[in-house]
């Protein structure tokens, strides 16, 4: 994807997105006794063997690496749920299914560090990869519809990594469209000066329906300095 490899263009590097995802809460089952941890980012524990406890993903992975716990697979990471999601993704070519905002990062971290804790790990992994591919294909086909008349694109349920990948390309594309579409540019091409200044014709105002509760991205033109 354009701009993805250039660190100056993308706002967040993939590892930074992962860093943010590591604060998502997961459930672990410790196999040791440990006092409560009063950390800067919050208090966790105390931990007792076989008693489930909720901790951020980075802490879960750290404990898992040392063999001190098992990580419970989140509900959405089961074969049943993912099969449903994949089917729904395939059925609706324009919509994205609700998935955790950081589903890509979370599943990657769990596969890397807690593979044996996931039931049907192989199947789950391929399902998630399929879902990723289907969704990304939608994003790419969606990009084709962008033109100079685009003022807002609604992308409901887009995930963190997905939005991070398309952001640089999308923003620069729209900026370019906007720049070349502006009245000044059109006038420059028309040197006679006889034509009256074209009023910025931005097409019909679209109504954007932002219904989704949480993960809905809209792509808006930011008009801070009103002309």
């Amino acid at each position: 994807m354009a701009g993805q490899s250039d660190p100056h263009l993308s706002l967040f590097s993939p590892s930074e997105v992962e860093f943010v995802a590591e604060d998502e809460v997961v459930e672990i089952v410790p196999n040791i006794r440990m006092d409560a941890l009063n950390m800067i980012c919050g208090d966790f524990g105390p931990f007792f063997p076989q008693i489930p406890s909720k901790v951020p993903l980075w802490l879960a992975v750290a404990l898992k690496k040392r063999g001190k716990c098992t990580i419970r697979t989140p509900d959405w990471m089961t074969v049943d749920r993912l099969t449903q999601v994949l089917e729904a993704e395939r059925e609706s070519p324009r919509e994205f299914q609700p998935l955790p905002f950081h589903y890509i990062e979370i599943s990657k971290l769990l596969f890397d560090h807690a593979r044996e804790d996931i039931s049907d790990a192989y199947l789950v992994r391929s399902l998630i990869e399929d879902i990723r591919d289907v969704r990304f294909h939608k994003v790419e086909t969606g990009l084709e519809t962008i033109s100079g008349r685009t003022h807002a694109v609604k992308l409901k349920n887009l995930s963190a990594m997905e939005v991070n990948i398309v952001r640089p390309f999308m923003v620069r594309t729209l900026q370019a469209f906007y720049k070349h579409d502006s009245p000044e540019m059109i006038q420059q091409g028309d040197n006679t000066g006889s034509r009256p200044t074209q009023v910025a014709d931005r097409g019909p105002r679209e109504k954007v329906d932002v219904k989704s509760h949480s993960t809905s991205f809209s792509f808006l033109q930011r008009d801070l300095r009103r002309r």
Partner: protein, 220 residues
């Protein structure tokens, strides 16, 4: 895993300063211009870092006290941390717990440093632009204002040495004095340089925290 929710939303519900700092960091990253410096928040986070570090040992605490005024020097912090980790292990506390606290500390330090660095980068880039507006200047912390000022001075000195002093008589010195008389010194440089400004009129991604229903774009 409750991540069906938007993480911004959980941030507004959560009260930990790390969450708030993460939000500030994310906003700062996404915004083209320098945002208001949240002094209270940064102070609180620094205090918590100090507190955690005080558990480790004294030297680092001392270091943080000294450096409270300025931004953190990465190398110093890293060196001190390694020292303290040893001290802590010596005192007989569980290895695992130490390493977990260390990770927590590292994560918070990363956020704080990244936040401060981001701001410095922006200040360096838009020094002139910031120096022209009191509103923008007020957004900076005391140290950042100092930084912006010295950045501006260095730039001015550089331009004078490399360009103005090389111009023939009548363009160089005389021009400078004439300009200085009529207007502020800052303006002098603006004549020669297009001032880099953050691009505020652009497209952004935004994510709604809650259902906003039908939405008219004109109202933005």
């Amino acid at each position: 895993m409750s991540s069906w929710d938007d993480d911004d939303e959980s941030a507004s519900a959560a009260t930990t300063d790390v969450e708030l700092l993460k939000r500030a960091w994310r906003n700062e990253k996404a915004a083209p211009e320098v945002l208001r410096f949240d002094k209270d928040l940064v102070d609180r986070v620094r205090e918590q870092i100090q507190l955690l570090v005080r558990h480790f040992s004294c030297p680092i605490f001392f270091f943080f006290r000294c450096s409270c005024g300025g931004s953190l020097t990465v190398r110093d912090v890293v060196v001190r941390q390694e020292e303290t980790l040893d001290d802590f292990t010596d005192s007989g506390v569980d290895d695992l717990v130490v390493s977990l606290y260390q990770m927590d500390l590292d994560r918070t330090l990363f956020l704080l440093r990244s936040y401060l660095r981001l701001r410095l980068q922006k200040i360096e880039k838009y020094t002139m632009h910031i120096s022209r507006s009191q509103d923008l200047k007020d957004r900076l912390s005391e140290q950042e204002q100092k930084f912006a000022k010295s950045c501006g001075e260095i730039m001015e000195k550089h331009l004078k040495q490399s360009v103005l002093s090389k111009l023939p008589y009548g363009y160089g010195d005389e021009f400078v004095t004439k300009q200085s008389l009529s207007s502020t010194e800052d303006d002098m440089i603006f004549i020669f340089l297009p001032v880099p400004e953050p691009q505020l009129d652009t497209f952004v991604f935004c994510k709604t925290k809650s259902d906003v229903g039908a939405f008219q774009l004109d109202d933005m």
